[in-house]
């Protein structure tokens, strides 16, 4: 791959003060992206999360040179986006990437391959994406999942260092999603940098090592997946209170690390940023038993972080 031979060590993506304003027919322009600074290193696998209209697609469009920023700068492997696309350093599976319905799968791959200066490996890419058996089929006769695999095949043609996937599994059934991510795992294993936007938090949780969360056109969280998960909700500690353990509830409510304390009969549930301390308090002197610690779900973090911004 190019990155191993290139002398430059610029990050895969570098965004500085990125802003995108859209004109609207009536009223003031909308700031779809409202000042994003972000650096993504080579070989990282990053999930780009955010609710609809958060500015994910617009940001990715600017990274790919499909839209020009209103303000700020974008560098992809140290190059302007269009240059990075032209040299095959970056490629993408777009949410709305159109296909020509009356072409066959193979014609589509051959057509896109022909736009790259070096002979892109048509047959190899068809094989790797499991499309060899469908090569002669018209695009219009392919299922949604098959069309998405075709878009993925097109993205692999330039052998990109950076692969961007915008909602890659939208509209796929469970099996197709699983197969897609299995193929993605292989591709990431080849040392590609992968950035994907998704609605499925479970996909981000399982596949990404870093999560970047956007809402209202701004970055609201950025860090390792585990850290993001625990950042807002922390961990939840559940236990059964022993007789006379009630006085502990007051202590827990006063504790600065306890975000929420709920009692239901002899069950207590504590949401905390310091589960060790809470566990110690509960177990000390046999005040509680049946202790259980769970980490917060990404869903929680997502809802909490994105709502904070829209408020």
């Amino acid at each position: 791959m190019n990155s191993t031979t290139g002398p430059d060590r610029a990050p895969a993506i570098e965004l500085h003060g990125l802003v995108k304003r859209f004109r609207t027919p009536h009223g003031p322009p909308v700031r779809a992206v409202d000042g994003i600074d972000l650096s993504i290193g080579r070989g990282e696998i990053v999930a780009f999360l955010g609710p609809n209209g958060a500015g994910k697609t617009t940001t990715l469009d600017m990274v790919l040179g499909l839209t020009a920023p209103s303000e700020g700068s974008v560098r992809v492997h140290g190059l302007p986006p269009r240059e990075a696309v032209r040299t095959g350093r970056v490629s993408a599976v777009l949410q709305t990437g159109g296909l020509l319905r009356d072409l066959t799968v193979r014609e589509t791959v051959r057509l896109i391959a022909s736009t790259f200066p070096t002979g892109a490996p048509v047959d190899e890419v068809l094989e790797r994406t499991g499309l060899t058996g469908l090569a002669g089929r018209r695009v219009s006769k392919c299922s949604g999942g098959e069309q998405q695999r075709l878009r993925f095949a097109l993205a692999l043609l330039p052998d990109p260092d950076l692969l961007i996937l915008d909602e890659p599994t939208a509209g796929m059934d469970v099996t197709a999603r699983r197969d897609f991510w299995a193929t993605m795992h292989e591709e990431a294993g080849r040392g590609r940098t992968v950035v994907f936007a998704t609605h499925y938090l479970e996909e981000a949780d399982r596949f990404a090592r870093r999560i970047v969360m956007v809402a209202g056109g701004r970055l609201v969280a950025d860090g390792p997946t585990d850290q993001i998960r625990s950042r807002v909700s922390g961990r939840t500690v559940r236990a059964r209170l022993s007789p006379g353990g009630d006085r502990l509830v007051g202590e827990l409510r006063d504790h600065p690390a306890c975000l929420r304390v709920e009692v239901d009969g002899d069950r207590v549930e504590v949401q905390t940023t310091d589960s060790d301390a809470v566990a110690r308090m509960l177990l000390l002197g046999h005040a509680a038993s049946d202790l259980e610690i769970t980490s917060g779900s990404l869903d929680h973090a997502f809802t909490a972080l994105t709502q904070e911004v829209s408020r």
Partner: protein, 260 residues
């Protein structure tokens, strides 16, 4: 960095041509229908051998029908180019090294290559069924039909950009029938209708293609008239319409970008 000049991507062009060759309905309207119209109104008409300027009626009708077929082809290619790009194919191509200029080169080549089909077919039929004129008239009229058809790829492009649907492109191709009647293509007009015709888009194009035999002389349903168009008139008509279509297309592209 110096960008390479946009050269023709032959693989893309070949796939595009194969795509069109599979679309038999479009091919019928591009080549089949005008060929049949020529056979009915040109070669088998009673007056097919009657002289028109330096040629005969069969030649005059042959040029008209070839022109109609050619503009049907270029309008369709231009329109589909616009619709494809807006339906997401443009974004897909945006992820490749292909430049906008490269895309235009492919589509221009394809639209000429397809426009050649009705011209070649109908000129061949003409040669076989009694169309007569000087060799130079055959050549020049054929080249004018081909080159002038490019203006109507801009017409298709503008309609495609404006209405953004395949249906609109079909409608644009269909509207050429009306423009052909209004433009003195199918049936010789006279009087007020002819005065109106001079302002319509197909008038200048077809008048220029016939110029090698007519020298601008107008034909009525009953034979030659004393009226003559100076050469500048059809040229001006074609140039003005080319500017209108191109301006409209540019304006629509800019409007589309602003909304992105």
């Amino acid at each position: 960095m110096n960008r390479p000049a946009a050269v023709l991507n032959t693989t893309y062009a070949a796939i595009e041509l194969r795509r069109v060759s599979r679309d038999l309905v479009s091919l019928f309207f591009i080549a089949g229908l005008p060929a049949v119209l020529y056979l009915i109104f040109g070669s088998s008409a009673e007056d097919s051998a009657v002289r028109v300027g330096d040629g005969n009626v069969a030649f005059y009708v042959m040029v008209s029908m070839a022109a109609y077929g050619a503009v049907t082809a270029t309008t369709g290619v231009g329109g589909m180019a616009a619709v494809e790009r807006m339906q997401g194919w443009g974004r897909q191509l945006g992820l490749t090294p292909m430049s906008d200029a490269g895309f235009v080169v492919v589509k221009t080549f394809v639209s000429f290559a397809i426009a050649v089909v009705p011209i070649a077919l109908i000129y061949l039929l003409g040669g076989l069924t009694g169309a007569e004129a000087d060799p130079s008239s055959w050549l020049i009229s054929g080249l004018v039909v081909l080159a002038g058809a490019a203006v109507f790829s801009l017409y298709g492009l503008a309609v495609g950009l404006m209405f953004r649907s395949e249906g609109a492109v079909s409608a644009a191709s269909g509207s050429l029938v009306i423009l052909a009647f209004l433009g003195n293509v199918f049936f010789p007009l006279s009087g007020l209708m002819l005065d109106i015709a001079r302002f319509t888009p197909l008038y200048g194009y077809v008048a220029l293609a016939r110029y090698p035999i007519t020298g601008g002389e107008l034909v009525s349903a009953t034979g030659p008239t004393s009226e003559t168009d100076p050469l500048w008139l059809p040229v001006l008509n074609l140039v003005v319409w080319a500017i209108i279509f191109a301006g409209l297309a540019v304006w629509l592209v800019r409007r589309g970008r602003g909304r992105q």
